[in-house]
């Protein structure tokens, strides 16, 4: 075939151009260490990567939620344990006070200790978390869960739920309603406690742990040990026992939720790991393969350059002198 001079020039030039284009592409991918830099590099993989990254992000957010819930529940668990311990001590003291062998001095010190434990439990029930939210207040955690004078619950029964799995919500709080309220309490003569008027409160005793304790404290002369109503103390022992049981129940329920979190987190992490691997499979560069391709391209460019200069040097005019 007849070949024009420009043709020889252009085909050499174009070939070198396209080689250089391929090389730049290879350099870019090698330097970013990615196989898919732009969607057009592999459209299906690009959209899968996007979906997987989103999925992974969502799962990781579930785990962050789970961690936050876990922290909350640990605080709840510890606080409930503290309250339970205090209640057990109150019960011991009440049993001692209820017995007939106690000396006035012992009575006084036991009554004082009960009063102190009462205050301690009050404080625990108004525990705040790191962001100053009252943990037993339900969705009204911005104000104290219990009014320290009226002993009434200020919060609500809302479960604050966070998502820890696609279809799994987990309550990260225990409301005072569940842990401390709605107890069946009785006073002297088997009368419901919330129908008995408290001189200290200026109102009926509330149906909660604090009501039970206030009744006990009142029956020891408000912590002074001067008047001791043994009959009321005996009823209080049962009341405190009931309160301790409810707290105990709430504590173990919180523990159960922490177990759920552990299980869910393990599942989530497994998926996150799988996604990471899958993303890497789709997106990351196969280095040895890319390297040998690069070398091949460089070699090819080199040889075209050599050929070009050879062919361009050949002309009949060189011989016409």
């Amino acid at each position: 075939m007849r070949v024009s001079t420009n043709n020889m020039f252009y085909s050499g030039r174009d070939h070198m151009n396209s080689m250089q284009g391929d090389l730049v592409d290879s350099y870019e991918k090698m330097s970013l260490q990615k196989r898919v830099v732009k969607p057009s590099d592999d459209p299906v993989a690009a959209s899968q990567i996007l979906a997987l990254k989103t999925r992974k992000d969502i799962i990781e957010q579930y785990n962050k939620n789970a961690d936050a819930a876990d922290t909350n529940l640990s605080l709840t668990d510890n606080t409930l344990k503290g309250i339970n311990d205090a209640l057990i001590r109150v019960k011991e003291l009440a049993i001692q006070l209820g017995s007939d062998q106690y000396q006035p001095k012992q009575i006084k010190s036991a009554a004082t200790e009960i009063k102190q434990l009462f205050e301690h439990i009050k404080s625990l029930m108004n525990t705040q978390d790191s962001s100053d939210t009252y943990i037993f207040g339900g969705s009204s955690g911005d104000k104290p869960a219990y009014d320290r004078t009226t002993l009434l619950f200020q919060g609500d029964a809302v479960r604050q739920r966070v998502r820890i799995g696609d279809d799994t919500f987990l309550a990260m709080n225990t409301s005072g309603t569940q842990a401390f309220e709605n107890l069946t309490l009785t006073g002297v003569g088997g009368v419901a406690l919330n129908t008995i008027n408290s001189a200290t409160l200026g109102a009926n005793y509330p149906n909660n742990i604090l009501g039970a304790l206030q009744y006990l404290v009142d029956s020891t002369g408000n912590g002074t040990g001067t008047i001791v109503n043994k009959e009321a103390i005996r009823f209080s022992i049962d009341n405190v026992e009931a309160a301790a049981q409810q707290v105990n129940l709430a504590q173990s329920e919180a523990g159960a939720r922490q177990n759920t979190i552990k299980g869910m987190k393990a599942t989530n992490e497994l998926f996150a790991e799988f996604s990471t691997k899958r993303i890497s499979d789709l997106e990351d560069l196969d280095f040895p393969k890319a390297w040998s391709k690069l070398q091949q391209q460089e070699l090819s460019l080199n040889s075209s350059q050599m050929l070009f200069s050879r062919i361009q040097g050949m002309s009949l005019f060189n011989f016409l002198r």
Binding site: M1, R2, V3, S4, T5, N6, N7, Y10, S11, D14, V37, K38, P39, S40, D41, D42, P43, A46, S47, L50, A51, K53, T54, D57, I58, Q61, K64, A68, A69, N72, S131, D132, T133, G137, G138, S139, S140, G141, D142, F153, Q154, G155, D156, A157, V158, R159, Q160, R161, V162, R163, F169, M172, S175, T177, Q178, E181, S315, L316, F317, L320
Partner: protein, 649 residues
């Protein structure tokens, strides 16, 4: 004397041959040049007794070596290459844009929903609330960055259309002039071809084929009539038509191409322009750019609308129902932008039409034509397919296409037979999304929560509400069934009756409470089935059930759920990315193919018409030797003559 004359003809033909060879060598780098050859013939012989006696040679004509089929193929392949080249260039910009970490919408959406989820952990934490607002602003910023980029591309396309139209005009008038010159050239050259002018005209046609598809018809063997696109005449003989790039008729931001007729009439010929750079620009604008505006616009609209819807069902820290977190997608100023009059008798007398988006689950990323036909308002797709129609008494009221197209059109008593409008529900979504809230206290993250003890599946949310200074938050909605009678009530956080007792009105799944305890009035709605003894609590300030509902928008199938299986926001974005990737990829392939096809054709053309230096060098030697030989013939003639003269008597 014969020999001398014969020698002379040899000298002359060899000289002309050398001249033509020199012309070839000189024009080796001239674009569009075809090598030339002489057509050399013997002179008319003299007839003698022994027969014909040769009288030397002469040059009949100088011819270009061309193959008209190849020339035409070059034009076709050039158009194809420039079509795919322009398309690819524009696509590459989008390809880079949608994949960039800082411009990708998917990571912006993720960050927003992450922030909302974090706020469910600690709803009062200021930093988390701030993060919701900054990430919402980031979403707006990214949509606006994409919008700017798309707008830039549109502006560039408009510029390119204008420049290309001007180029077409220049080339067309050049070709018309060349037609005239060529005609004259034939006349002057005794009907021999004016080679270099022919080359020039072919080169201009090739240049024209870079811009648009070109077809040619040779008239009387000399002048070339040219049509572009699918048969639009641009050069007829020695006169040329003109194109004009003007602001679009339906949409001023989209440049139209007009053909200036003989009496300065204007006609939009966008549809007739195919192939080449210009055809590519028009097609890209329609198929990719405007689709991108629509697809991403829909994403912005649906996102803003869904988040607003959930946010409105919450209550903020100022005890107010959640306001718009993003600008209401049906604000009057936005509804007006979605429809524009295109033509007809009664452009917009009597007020403007507005488009209200009412059903995002069927809303398509499309644009429509609305026209008055036979007294009815008819909606068609841009390519003319009938989609829906409604009649409207007095042309005043609402055309409700909510179920089929996802929007309503409000018509204020306008529209005459033949009027038509362009409806663009989603075109401006990326541009119009804005955040409305920057005060963290106005984030409505609390709603209506439930205690552990509920056994039914009902969940409640606010529909609307007004809350006075003594708030009802913390109160419980209770539900009891006794003797088949359902009773809803509102009691305080400890279960005690509220005085004065609120008035409760039930309407289906909606309950309205008023006078709670005073100056309150709010409506709630429930989904699911309540069981007797269940309670729901109006959440206090650390409530976060509304935040959970906003976070759920991330995974909800909010797009196209009314017409198919539906996609979440991020899935829809991934589908768009895949579409751009796929299209870019296929144009990469077609660009490469067209490039090598054109190179092949050019090689073929060059092998026929191109100059080869070695060949010309050989020709120089050949014609030089012929010249020398002819000179020798003349010398011989002189020697013979001298021999005769030297004979002295």
């Amino acid at each position: 004397m014969d020999l001398l004359r014969i020698g002379l003809t040899g000298l002359q033909t060899s000289r002309t041959n050398l001249n033509v060879t020199g012309h070839n060598v000189s024009n080796i780098n001239t674009d569009g040049y075809s090598r030339q050859r002489t057509e050399q013939l013997t002179n008319t012989p003299l007839y003698k007794g022994y027969g014909a006696k040769g009288t030397g040679a002469h040059i009949q004509s100088v011819q270009r070596i061309v193959d008209d089929f190849i020339t035409r193929q070059v034009r076709i392949d050039t158009s194809r290459l420039h079509y795919s080249k322009e398309f690819l260039q524009n696509l590459n910009e989008l390809d880079n844009l949608v994949s960039g970490q800082s411009t990708s919408m998917s990571s912006a959406f993720e960050n927003f929903f992450k922030a909302v989820q974090s706020a469910t952990q600690k709803p009062l934490l200021k930093s988390d609330r701030e993060l919701i607002i900054t990430s919402a602003k980031d979403i707006v910023r990214r949509f606006s960055a994409i919008n700017n980029k798309l707008n830039d591309q549109n502006t560039t396309i408009n510029d390119k259309i204008r420049i290309s139209s001007n180029k077409v005009n220049k080339l067309a008038s050049d070709i018309a002039q060349l037609n005239k010159d060529i005609y004259e050239g034939y006349m002057k050259g005794n009907n021999n071809p004016p080679n270099d002018l022919l080359d020039l005209r072919e080169e201009r046609l090739r240049e024209l084929s870079e811009i648009v598809d070109v077809q040619t018809v040779l008239q009387d063997g000399m002048q070339m009539n040219v049509t572009i696109g699918n048969g639009q005449p641009i050069v007829v003989g020695s006169s040329a038509y003109k194109l004009q790039a003007v602001a679009g008729r339906a949409d001023a931001t989209r440049t139209d191409i007009n053909l200036v007729g003989k009496k300065d009439t204007l006609e939009v010929i966008n549809k007739n322009i195919t192939g080449g750079q210009l055809g590519s620009l028009l097609r890209y604008r329609e198929e990719v750019l405007d689709k991108s505006f629509d697809k991403l616009g829909r994403l912005a609209l649906v996102f803003a609308n869904e988040v607003n819807r959930q946010h409105a069902r919450g209550v903020d820290l100022n005890d107010q129902p959640g306001g718009d977190l993003f600008k209401d997608i049906n604000s009057p100023d936005l509804m007006r932008t979605r429809i524009k009059p295109v033509g007809g008798k009664n452009k917009n007398a009597g007020g403007e039409l507005t488009v209200e988006i009412t059903n995002t689950s069927v809303l398509q990323a499309s644009e429509y034509k609305l026209m008055v036909q036979d007294g009815k308002f008819v909606v068609r797709s841009l390519d003319g397919k009938l989609l829906d129609y409604k009649s409207l008494p007095n042309n005043s009221g609402t055309l409700d296409f909510s179920d089929t197209l996802g929007f309503r059109i409000n018509v204020p008593g306008v529209g005459m037979e033949g009027d038509n409008w362009l409806v663009m529900p989603t075109r401006f979504g990326t541009e119009q999304i804005k955040t409305e809230i920057s005060d963290i206290n106005k984030l409505a993250l609390r709603g209506i929560g439930s205690p552990k003890t509920n056994t039914g599946t009902a969940s409640f949310s606010y529909i609307e509400g007004q809350f006075g200074p003594v708030t009802p938050f913390g109160s419980q909605i209770t539900y009891t069934v006794a003797g088949g009678v359902e009773t809803f009530n509102l009691v305080d956080n400890r279960g005690n009756a509220i005085t004065p007792a609120p008035t409760i009105t039930r309407n289906g799944n909606r309950l309205t409470f008023s006078g709670v305890p005073a100056a309150h009035s709010f409506t709630v709605e429930f989904k699911g089935v309540p069981k007797s003894g269940d309670k729901w609590i109006l959440e206090g300030k650390t409530g976060q059930s509304a935040a959970n509902n906003i976070a759920a928008v991330q995974r909800d199938k909010t797009i196209n759920s009314g017409t198919g299986m539906g996609s979440s926001l991020i899935e829809a974005y991934a589908e768009y990315v895949e579409l751009i990737g796929n299209t870019t990829n296929s144009y990469k392939v077609s660009y490469k193919t067209n490039d090598s096809v054109l190179k092949q054709t050019l090689k073929l053309q060059s092998s026929v018409s191109g100059v080869n230096m070695d060949e010309e060098a050989a020709n120089i030697i050949k014609f030089q030797q012929a010249y020398q030989a002819a000179a020798q013939v003349m010398a011989t003639a002189q020697t013979i003559f001298n021999a005769v003269l030297s004979i002295k008597g």
